[in-house]
């Protein structure tokens, strides 16, 4: 089916990632918006669509979209998407292609709060939480992924050492990314992961993503507008989203069905729209909040069969030099996880397709894919297939 026009990513930006005690979430968001627009060479006056991720509603009683419409200079917006793990960028591309809007900015920034258990204060009486909430049992995100990992290892005969391989290749990529948080600490081994302190068994510290501050933004527009901007445009060939369950409450049995769940559906749709074969992907950014996640991403997205994700990693396909270098920036495990990193994998794929990645550049990268997921283990998914012009 011919598109009315073609959407492209024209600008990306990441703020400094790490501990940023002197910053606010708002200032990181504004820096990211300005930075990505400057990267594109598009003035703020042209923005008519926004995708604010979490922590971006700064005026009580006013939605984030309304606040930012006014903050950015009383902008009449034509697209008001929400983000998280959804395929907001996929829908932004459809909106641009069909004339709903011209320039869309997705942005995020967070400073001064923690996502993990360190961020939970000791109360002076028992807090009351929603009825079936996992908080009553002392569970949190890491626990959920640990339960997922334990069940997965049981069903498919996979070991913790197999999971650890993900942390090893991802850290190596971080050592080649001067902006990554963990790169300067150097390479790690499987033994390092197995010997790091346990957080929620079977997951140890080095199986877990970082928990830091930071911001980022992505600018999308039409290919015509992108061609006259500063950087080489990256085409959005197709994208899709999917969800199948609630927020870490219900567990559906089986957890690993042959036919897959949300990630499978979003991936199949995205590749069908893009009209390319997933075997042709040169570089991937796959959501890696924990080592188990990357392995499940590869299976659900159809890069390997169910139960064979760890083998795929061990065969070296995800490493630089492999057939599909993955998370070349160091991912959420070793580059940055600032709370809602739904756009970070897309940004790294864009930089790869532009050829901006220096030591970690994938030679001649032409086709890339990003996966964001969350809101339950693989509960909500967004997939974006991108290409050089």
């Amino acid at each position: 089916m011919a598109r009315p026009r073609q959407a492209a990513i024209a600008g990306v930006y990441t703020t400094k990632q790490g501990k940023l005690p002197d910053r606010t979430s708002f200032s990181l968001q504004l820096e990211a918006i300005k930075g990505a627009l400057d990267d594109a060479g598009i003035p703020i006056e042209e923005v008519d669509g926004i995708i604010p991720l979490s922590m971006s509603d700064h005026l009580p009683g006013t939605t984030a979209h309304q606040f930012w419409a006014n903050q950015l200079g009383e902008r009449p917006l034509g697209l008001m998407e929400t983000g998280g793990a959804s395929g907001a960028l996929a829908k932004a591309a459809l909106a641009i292609e069909n004339g709903m809007c011209e320039v869309v900015v997705l942005f995020y920034g967070k400073a001064g709060s923690l996502v993990g258990p360190r961020g939970t204060a000791m109360p002076d009486r028992a807090p009351r939480v929603p009825d079936w909430s996992f908080y009553q049992s002392g569970a949190y995100m890491t626990t959920w992924y640990a339960l997922w990992a334990q069940r997965y290892m049981h069903e498919f005969g996979v070991t913790h050492a197999d999971l650890a391989e993900v942390a090893v290749f991802t850290r190596h990529h971080a050592t080649l990314n001067p902006d990554s948080i963990m790169g300067r600490k150097g390479d790690i081994t499987v033994e390092d992961v197995l010997n790091s302190r346990p957080i929620c068994e079977p997951l140890n510290l080095l199986d877990c993503s970082l928990d830091n501050d930071g911001g980022y933004a992505v600018v999308m527009t039409s290919i015509e507008r992108a061609r006259s901007s500063k950087k080489k445009p990256v085409l959005v060939l197709g994208g899709a989203e999917s969800t199948y369950t609630d927020f870490y409450v219900t567990i559906n049995d089986p957890w690993f069905p042959e036919e897959g769940k949300a990630v499978r559906r979003a991936t199949d749709r995205a590749f069908a729209i893009a009209g390319i074969d997933r075997e042709d992907i040169d570089v991937a950014g796959l959501y890696d909040c924990f080592t188990i996640t990357t392995i499940r991403d590869l299976e659900e997205m159809g890069f390997c069969k169910l139960g064979e994700g760890a083998d795929y990693v061990k065969e070296g396909h995800c490493a630089l030099g492999g057939k599909m270098p993955t998370n070349t920036d160091g991912g959420l495990l070793s580059n940055s996880h600032a709370g809602d990193p739904a756009g970070m994998h897309t940004i790294e794929v864009v930089r790869q397709l532009r050829g901006e990645c220096g030591e970690r550049q994938v030679p001649d990268a032409k086709l890339g894919v990003s996966l964001q997921q969350g809101w339950a283990v693989h509960g909500m998914a967004g997939v974006l297939v991108m290409a050089t012009e």
């Binding site: 204060a121 929603p130 049992s137 002392g138 339960l147 334990q150 068994e201 409450v249 219900t250």
Partner: protein
């Protein structure tokens, strides 16, 4: 000792469940139309979409479906590390009911997937809530186990 871990907001729509725990029952919505149990409770049966469901006491027999030993706990839970969080599959069929919770009286190294469990109850001192825990099925006669837990009268999240 004051209980400082999160407890449920008890509301009209879920009161039957928490009243059940206080009465020594684990009640799950059972569909009046197709007979399937639904966990977590939803407004309609996930299998046939009937809104007619009845809170029904289940057998309290379950097996470990997955588990994690937590070494870094949020808030008051950090005093109990390491503690176990389990996903327990209730014996009731055909729709699986996978219930998340803590264990009591089970040594961490004894946990395994498929381990038989039994749901037991624990009154929270100073609060209007009775909670459930998973005990090893062969630990004791169920009623004795329940009585022992009440007598101990203390948080029992430590595995």
């Amino acid at each position: 000792m004051t209980y400082l871990k999160p407890l449920p907001q008890i509301e009209p729509r879920n009161k039957e469940f928490w009243d059940g725990l206080a009465a020594g029952e684990f009640r799950v919505p059972k569909c009046d139309n197709c007979g399937h149990y639904n966990w977590v409770p939803y407004p309609a049966c996930r299998s046939c979409l009937s809104e007619a469901q009845t809170w029904t006491p289940v057998s309290r027999d379950a097996t470990v479906w997955s588990f994690s030993l937590v070494h870094r706990g949020p808030g008051a839970f950090n005093d109990d590390v390491p503690y176990a969080v389990v996903l327990a599959k209730l014996a009731e069929e055909p729709r699986s009911c996978i219930v998340l919770g803590n264990t009591t009286g089970i040594a961490p190294e004894d946990l395994y997937i498929g381990m038989p469990l039994r749901i037991v109850f624990e009154e929270i001192p100073g609060e209007d809530v009775t909670v459930f825990r998973f005990a090893a099925a062969d630990a004791a006669e169920p009623d004795d186990a329940d009585a022992a837990l009440s007598a101990e009268n203390q948080p029992a999240t430590v595995a």
